[in-house]
């Protein structure tokens, strides 16, 4: 069982992050009132504390509750699919109730360096490096019983650098007009990836997040067969060295490149 910490590390524990040590949820024990000693025994009576720490599962619950069920988009009136997170027509975010920020949606071929006035660009715009690979172990552990087989030869790993603030990961669909920034099927030939599978977004403060868009087969934080998929619609932070598994045999290795922050 793994938990995602507010910084985006994959934690083995649910009280404190097993990577960065940050507090997770309210399961951590309270310190003594005097602040001078704390005691723990093999079976401690955990005392919940009213923690201010953000809890990803709360955000996830709020988000999934906000997904409309075959009703029209409140912004443009387009009928939404039952498990849609964004309006397919106008990009309205059902979870947060906001429209995509058009100003930032510069075409990908305009590099930040070409910006005539550097003062107008956000202070921090780290790019996101994504390595798209075929993970045979993941396939063997999870999907091998389905009538599918790995492509032969195994396609090469592809590195993609994302500089735009919103990037769709999925499968290209001419008929529905879906053109993902990372077209997984074209790289790994994976039929288990949804057309609109995952959104990789950079906030105005420069933080990268990933959101499963209610994909059919889910997105996983572990290649193990016992892992649970992440909650659809919840924007989760991208931590250092994060890997995501999706579809039948695709692994994404994500790393934020702070060096490009200029």
């Amino acid at each position: 069982m793994t938990t995602l910490c507010p910084k985006g590390c994959v934690s083995e524990w649910d009280d404190w992050c097993s990577v960065c040590g940050d507090r997770l949820g309210a399961d951590a024990p309270a310190g003594s009132a005097g602040g001078t000693s704390a005691s723990a025994s093999p079976d401690p009576a955990w005392v919940p504390v009213a923690a201010a720490a953000p809890d990803p599962s709360e955000a996830a619950a709020a988000a999934s509750a906000a997904i409309p069920d075959g009703r029209p988009c409140p912004h443009c009136g387009e009928i939404a699919y039952p498990d849609d997170v964004f309006c397919e027509s106008c990009g309205y975010d059902f979870a947060s109730g906001t429209l995509p920020v058009i100003v930032e949606a510069a075409s990908p071929d305009v590099t930040p360096a070409a910006d005539p006035d550097p003062a107008l660009t956000p202070a921090v715009t780290p790019s996101l490096m994504v390595t798209v690979a075929v993970d045979a172990d993941f396939f063997a552990a999870t999907t091998a019983d389905v009538e599918l087989s790995l492509p032969e030869p195994i396609p090469d790993t592809v590195d993609v650098t994302l500089t735009a603030s919103r990037n769709l990961v999925g499968r290209h669909s001419e008929s529905r007009g879906i053109l993902p920034e990372i077209d997984v099927e074209a790289i790994t030939d994976d039929p288990g990836v949804s057309s609109r599978h995952l959104m990789l977004e950079r906030s105005s403060s420069g933080t990268w997040t990933f959101t499963d868009l209610g994909s059919t087969n889910g997105t996983y934080l572990s290649a193990e067969a016992t892992a649970d998929p992440i909650t659809a619609g919840a924007a989760l932070p991208v931590g250092d060295g994060l890997s995501l598994w999706l579809g039948a045999w695709t692994r994404l290795d994500l790393s934020v490149d702070e060096a490009s922050a200029d």
Binding site: C17, C20, G21, R23, P29, G31, G35, T36, S37, A40
Partner: protein, 426 residues
Amino acid sequence: MADFSADVFQNEYLPAGGDTLDAVITVTSGANVSAAGSKQLVEVIIIDVSGSMNEDRGAKIQAAKVATMAAVDTLDDGVEFAIIAGTDRAHQLYPRNGLAVADAGTRREAKDTIQRVRADGGTAIGTWLQLAAQLHRTRPDAISHSILLTDGKNQHEPHHVLQASIDACIGLFQCDCRGLGTDWNVDEMRLVADALLGTVDIIPRPEDMEAEFRALISSAMKREVANVALRLWSPKGAQMEFLKQVSPTIEDMTGKGLPVNPLTNDYPLGAWSPGESRDYHLRVKIPAGGVGDERLGARVMLAINDEAEPIALVRAIWTDDENLSTRINREVAHYTGQAELAEAIHDGLAARAGGDEESATMKLGRAVQIAHETGNVASARLLEKVVDVDDPEAGTVRLKRNVAAEDEMALDVRSTRTVRVGKQGS
């Protein structure tokens, strides 16, 4: 899983930008500690029978024989044991090879053999340890203990051979080292004892040896769980400044960590008896957080044979309240003082030996002051044999002109013994 518990003493409040956490962790074993693993004790007694043991008209070798026979008598039935006689090479005295199982017959045979020993030859401690390691290696799951007695320096082998022999013994057995008289080398014995999780002490007079050996065997037989380790997790980016055992004695464990994973290390603690309690002082540097942040600085686990259970948490909370962040925890302050005391004694004696009377007076004066403040009566008494104390509160002392070698060695070797908070006399 065995029955261990822990108390953590720390000030978890750090100022903005603060990154250093200090904590004293008291680990206590419960009554049912033996539930995990074997209780079989293997005892290998190593006795120096070099030529120098004939000094004092044979009093030393005679006392060593009496003490070793007493040790054999103290062994419970069923304990596996062996006796090694050490000179410039190691010679297995009893049984001829392998280990004997203690009963009335083997105890009598062992004592007969000890009676016939004659002292002759040099001192090569590394070879003795190698033979002991060979015997202990045959019982990897047992509680493996040795006593090493010497009266002299390691003269008949190069230092690197001793060091390599010690390294080869690490993790195989624990070794308590005893020096008879004043011709042995404290640093050499400390090297052995530190690496092999044992104690060092001086036996000034041959007639004290019997009681000491009985006590060592009795305490070894109380041990019920072997191969205990303190397993410490710290967050990514953290740095272990130090980990010391601070009670009952000060032992630096910082370099002894064995990696379990990139964020976790095991620090071997040796064997434990039920109801034992030891204190550890941990200082760890962690990535600083912002005011209001909370972070785990260390998760303390107890591992036995790779089974681990968490026993304590060391936490950090960043605050802008200086009343909280500037507080110094009482236990941490106390053991910081005990560590300074040990260091002041060591440095003071070294300065004295080097003829630097001014530094020696200053350091030993500071030691007297701390011993007085913290109620370390044992250290205070030992110090009084080396210096004349004018004012213990101010740390004003004068070096004594004539100091017995055994008093100086006793102070050196026992300087690492600490007292606990709340037990100070006045």
